[in-house]
């Protein structure tokens, strides 16, 4: 029964990962931000 339960948990994790990819959206990245606005 424990093995069955853990299999269900694993299945849920995989379904969530698939669901998350379906919900996700592509964003234009602005990730090369600097830590300051000043100049050295």
């Amino acid at each position: 029964m424990t093995r069955k339960f853990l299999t269900y948990v694993l299945l849920a994790a995989m379904t969530i990962a698939a669901g998350s990819m379906a919900c996700g959206q592509t964003l234009s990245d602005l990730d090369n931000g600097d830590e300051t606005d000043g100049a050295t």
Binding site: V9, I16, G19, C23, D29, L30, G33, D37, T40
Partner: protein, 671 residues
């Protein structure tokens, strides 16, 4: 004890649904907590975003643990220590920084661990109240995977909500244990723990101050007992929780001189100060109905919402008010005579926990997903019970015990999927403000901060390229939109100032920065730093006048914000530019002490050493701080190394490092 297994019908259901042998409690809870952890794993790749700059990365106070006692007086607030009114949180942040440094994945792991701890403590308290394992496990699965929690978990600095919830549950557990303790000694120990934990919880975030009300509702409703314990005993057990809250409120009063740390009527960030409390409260009814929808059906989540007022006559407000009043009435009716104790706990508990952030007391954000972190817990308990109840007939009809958990599993999968997807928004500031401007286009803050993110994304090496011009133009358009939306928001003016700085329009930048400073009531250090630097570049003034004014501004800023790293770096840069290398070194040394991870400080210190004609010191620094400089742009680092090498080649050690005493063409000493 009154519980599902004591009711003949439900006992039959349990037998049908749970089977003869089911996994142990440790396996069930461990498996579900593991599931929550796995779903949240992608967060480990995120960086420091949002308020993390103010409260963690550029917060020099975290690097000065000896100054922690300042939190117990008004001195911390006077020195603008970030979140000085949340001493538990600041102490926790100091400890976390001392242990983890600025390793973002480690801080995210800490947030995830805190969230799992809250899940575990919540079910532990339910266990003390007598809840069956099924429901406790359902509360873990739903609360652990609730999509509405994405913001609170994914943004490091919002661990304040997680920390406060963990401590509040700790207090509730201790109070419930005190209520059930057999000996006076144990009762006293638990009561003391309850008071201490509750004080710490409210001092981590004041919204946890409503937790004693939740405790009272749970103990009075006693959903899993035949009868609640006598009210006198309950009162005695609740008193330490109330005392803990009173202690935290007393601290806020002592250190801020008022119940609210957000200042008086002059603070325009509080929307109630603009339109009055009535319209804000009217809109708040719609907001809270929205929270309920988001908790049950996770759509419409956003990193930003627009503050707005509403009229009590608006149809949406009327409907929302009616719905909330109906819920309140139903909850009170359910509590009366303990007719539906679990429904009473879920509804009244959530309403009570939402009270501190319901805009009755003005707040800088009228609405934010993170505000619902703790209030969503009673909802998860109620929803868990409902989904389990829905599953039982299904299992019975189809003669498959496992199907009893199908509705719960489907809801958990839905919430978990949206949680994982929603958390992605918080991976970087660029992502946050892009999404914020898309979902809340009428937010001046979202427009202004998106502009800042655009400007920050420019490549340093290409300050004049077409891509830079495109980014500056796009940023300017967002600034215009921000100003049109809210001319009284200092961020709108700061936005224009940043664009003006990018275009080297110093007079415009100064004008905008001064206006931003006028409107700003707190966190003005970035404006002051920029204003001081811009003042040094103002046209039409003598150099002496510009230098004196710039230094005056930065020195005043440093007195006001002694832990703000940005100001110390700006002071170092200014002193360097006005020809004060000793002053520059002192300011940069302080900046390095307050934030040693910041590459800009080290790069500037090396530059100062080189300009002073001390290549040996520059090379020493390049070697000492090579790990910090790894984060700098490769071009900048290469330029510094090249300069240091050229200096050491051109100026011999015997020259004393002085340009006047060396032959620049040969490097030979003239002495």
């Amino acid at each position: 004890m009154r519980g599902p297994s004591d009711n003949p019908d439900e006992a039959a259901d349990d037998a049908a649904t749970s089977g003869r042998r089911r996994p142990s409690e440790a396996v069930i809870l461990g498996g579900l907590l593991g599931l929550c952890a796995v779903v949240l794993l992608p967060i480990l790749a995120f960086g420091f975003v949002y308020d993390d700059g103010w409260t963690i990365t550029a917060n020099g106070f975290l690097r000065q643990p000896a100054d922690l006692p300042l939190l117990l007086s008004d001195e911390a607030a006077r020195r603008h220590v970030p979140d000085a009114f949340r001493p538990t949180l600041v102490a926790f942040d100091v400890l976390a920084y001392q242990l983890l440094g600025l390793l973002a994945p480690a801080h995210h792991a800490l947030s995830i661990a805190l969230h799992l701890l809250v899940c575990w403590l919540g079910q532990r308290w339910l266990g003390i109240l007598g809840a069956p394992l099924d429901l406790r496990a359902a509360s873990v699965a739903l609360f652990g995977l609730l999509a509405l929690h994405a913001e609170a978990i994914a943004v490091i600095s919002f661990r304040e909500d997680l920390l406060a919830a963990a401590l509040a549950f700790g207090g509730a557990i201790a109070a419930s244990q005190a209520l059930r303790a057999n000996s006076a000694r144990r009762r006293g120990g638990h009561a003391l723990a309850a008071a201490g934990l509750m004080a710490l919880a409210a001092a981590a975030k004041m919204s946890a101050a409503a937790a004693p009300i939740l405790w009272w509702i749970a103990e009075a409703a006693a959903p899993w007992s035949d009868a609640p314990l006598p009210w006198r005993r309950r009162l005695a057990a609740a008193a330490p929780l109330a005392a803990g809250v009173a202690l935290a409120i007393g601290h806020t009063l002592l250190t801020h001189g008022a119940l609210s740390p957000y200042g008086g009527p002059g603070n325009l960030r509080l929307f109630a100060n603009r339109v009055g409390v009535g319209p804000v409260l009217a809109e708040s009814t719609v907001i809270h109905l929205g929270y309920l929808q988001q908790a049950l059906l996770p759509f419409g989540l956003s990193p930003e919402y627009v503050d707005r007022g509403a009229s009590w006559g608006d149809p949406a407000v009327l409907l929302a008010s009616a719905a909330l009043l109906a819920l309140l009435a139903y909850g009170l009716g359910a509590l009366r005579g303990r007719r539906r104790p679990l429904a009473a706990l879920a509804i009244l508990g959530a309403l009570a926990l939402a009270l501190p952030t319901s805009n009755l007391a003005a707040m800088p954000n009228m609405r934010a997903d993170r505000l619902m972190y703790l209030p969503s817990w009673p909802l998860c308990v109620g929803l868990g019970a409902l989904l389990l109840a829905l599953g039982r007939p299904l299992a019975r009809a189809l003669r498959s015990p496992s199907l009893a958990y199908l509705p719960l599993a489907l809801m958990a999968i839905l919430q978990g999927s949206v949680l994982q997807a929603s958390a992605q928004v918080y991976r970087s500031n660029g992502a946050i403000w892009t999404v914020a401007a898309r979902r809340a286009p009428d937010s001046a803050r979202a427009q202004a901060l998106l502009a800042e993110a655009l400007l920050a994304s420019r490549e340093r090496e290409e300050s004049e390229g077409p891509e830079t011009r495109r980014l500056v133009s796009a940023a300017r358009a967002h600034c215009r939109r921000a100003e049109a939306l809210d001319p009284l928001d200092e961020l709108s003016h700061l936005c224009f100032a940043r664009v003006a700085i990018a275009r080297q329009e110093w007079a415009t930048a100064e004008h905008r920065l001064r206006r931003a400073l006028e409107l700003s009531v707190d966190r003005s250090h970035r404006i002051i730093a920029a204003l001081a630097e811009v003042t040094l570049d103002l046209p039409g003034r003598s150099e002496a006048e510009r230098s004196a004014r710039a230094l005056e501004i930065i020195d005043a800023g440093l007195r006001e914000y002694p832990y703000a790293v940005e100001l110390w770096v700006a002071a170092g840069r200014l002193r360097h530019r006005v020809g004060d290398p000793t002053g520059a070194d002192a300011a940069l040394a302080r900046a390095f002490a307050l934030a040693p991870e910041r590459w800009e400080t080290s790069a500037l210190t090396i530059e100062v050493a080189l300009d002073r004609g001390d290549p040996a010191r520059a090379i020493e620094l390049l070697d000492e701080r090579h790990r910090v400089l790894d984060a700098a742009a490769p071009g900048l680092r290469a330029a510094l190394e090249r300069r240091a090498w050229d200096h050491s080649r051109l100026f011999s050690p015997t020259s004393g490092g002085s340009l006047l005493l060396s032959d620049p063409s040969t490097g030979a000493s003239l002495r």
